[in-house]
Symmetry: C2
Subunit: 316 residues, 2 copies
């Protein structure tokens, strides 16, 4: 059931509870952000003791009662309680009524999980997300238009929104492949120096247009052993190759669509490479700070009207 | 200098000396294989003590004198002595004169390294191989025709041969990516069961045609969490996706070329998936046992004529 404003007398605790990190936001009953807390107690670290972990967090944040809204991997099979994915047939406005209740023994606490979304592409391939739907919901509340969003991270999520509904989800394993290849194996062996070199990042983006990733990844090594690239450039080259593979694929799939402006939801550090990559591929970027969109989403989910919403928080 | 048959009075010790494995072949002066020995003393395990490692091997094989020919990573920067890559402008028949001598204090031993090859594609991308040139040389001696060879492994090497010369080298990080993704991270977490399931391997190959690898790799997870594929299929699906990405790229790059018959140089276990994949992509396979081609290559490099050469060792 959707919450109407007058039901909200308790403070709101929003938790973006992922695999390795947890970000908590405390809003007062009027929807003002009053406290924020980040830690590394992701679902892997919690090891199933979710209720105890939430109780500890409430104590740390000095909350004696709270409306708790959680998003991310906490709602997965390996999370606290599985919140079944919504189909993208369901608009984002369906989320406040689709929250999944979690029973706890904690007094004065109501605890619910935001479900993720699943899509089924025309080619029969499913894709999924958990947590990113909340960020996109917040960006829409802050006044974005339709189009593509990208949420960079371990898995980079591309989400296309039209008329308040998700029309496509495309996941790229960019961050995870970068971490694996720069820490283990043949390419990592070249990467004694892991400092950003922009020209090498650009070379990697160019290379991503030349062929499939499983072949082009080896060019990182072939360039070094044939003295065509210094080993110190390999790290940035691989990063450019991975982000370039992502942009190349999006370009390939969006021929004829308006992909000129892409909305990035990500911290400045994560967003930086994507801004450069979007420019390189002839697109422009707007960046939404993840905390701003998360807080806006919490208000929508809890049914709180707030002056801040529909103000433009993005920067270009 | 090329060896003429009458110079060969010593037994021949051929060593395919790779990063993690070493395969040794002893041929008598007439070119008959008299002994074979495999161990895991690759260049990583030897840790720079190459001469001692060779002396130990000679002792184990009871060789008091030998003509030693080595190929593979032993000739790389991190090997015993760097044997500079030949350009593919040089035909494979140039190899016997391009062996790189290694000075040792071992008595009655002459020790040389087979250089690898480097290519430069029309798009400016270099590629390289070390060790595979020796296998291809051997397959040519045993009577193969022109065309594409594939040498599966940690890095899968595709080598196109025309008129006794290499015209293209394409490396795919297939084996390494499979090992990384099935042991670490998000996909490995699904793979409690690592048993081959042929239908899942085929699904992975189909999926490889739908999009780039960094996106499609996630479909492995998306299919499982949406209950469209059992988790026990994820391992084979990923294998099909990786080998399929390889075949798809070869197909894309060889439009108009005769790629109907591909020659696999690989052990039956490695070859099996490639035979299935080639059939899936409408190509046929001939398989060359790696030991047979290596022995034939040793004879060519040492200038020994032998009855076995130009007999067809391949099977279809």
């Amino acid at each position: 059931m959707n919450e109407t404003p007058n039901q909200m007398s308790m403070p709101l605790l929003g938790i973006d509870w992922g695999t390795t990190n947890r970000r908590a936001y405390v809003l007062d009953a009027q929807g003002n952000l009053v406290r924020q807390h980040n830690d590394e107690l992701g679902i892997l670290a919690v090891q199933g003791a979710f209720e105890k972990s939430l109780a500890d967090l409430l104590r740390k944040l000095e909350l004696e009662h709270a409306e708790v809204l959680m998003s991310g991997m906490v709602g997965s099979r390996n999370g606290w309680r599985q919140a079944p994915y919504l189909s993208i047939d369901q608009p984002l406005s369906a989320l406040p009524d689709a929250l999944v209740k979690v029973e706890t023994a904690l007094p004065n606490v109501r605890c619910r999980i935001v479900p993720g979304y699943r899509s089924l592409a025309a080619n029969g391939m499913p894709d999924v997300m958990r947590g990113e739907e909340t960020q996109v919901l917040g960006a829409l509340a802050l006044g974005t238009t339709n189009g593509w969003f990208v949420l960079p991270g371990t898995h980079s999520k591309w989400v296309r929104v039209e008329g308040g509904a998700i029309t496509e989800i495309l996941t790229f394993m960019t961050g995870e492949l970068f971490a694996l290849l720069s820490r283990h194996g043949t390419l990592a062996a070249l990467m004694q120096e892991q400092q950003p070199v922009f020209s090498a990042f650009e070379s990697g983006m160019s290379a991503s247009r030349q062929g499939g990733f499983t072949h082009m990844a080896f060019s990182c090594r072939a360039l070094v052993v044939t003295d065509a690239m210094p080993a110190a450039h390999a790290w940035s080259y691989l990063s450019g190759l991975l982000i370039g593979s992502e942009l190349h694929e999006i370009r390939r799939r969006t021929t004829g669509q308006d992909t000129l402006a892409v909305q990035i939801i990500g911290s400045p550090v994560l967003a930086e490479n994507y801004i450069a990559a979007l420019q390189f591929f002839g697109m422009s970027a707007r960046v939404w700070p993840p905390d701003d969109v998360y807080v806006a989403a919490l208000r929508v989910l809890a049914g709180i009207e707030h002056d801040d919403d529909r103000k433009d928080h993005a920067y270009s």
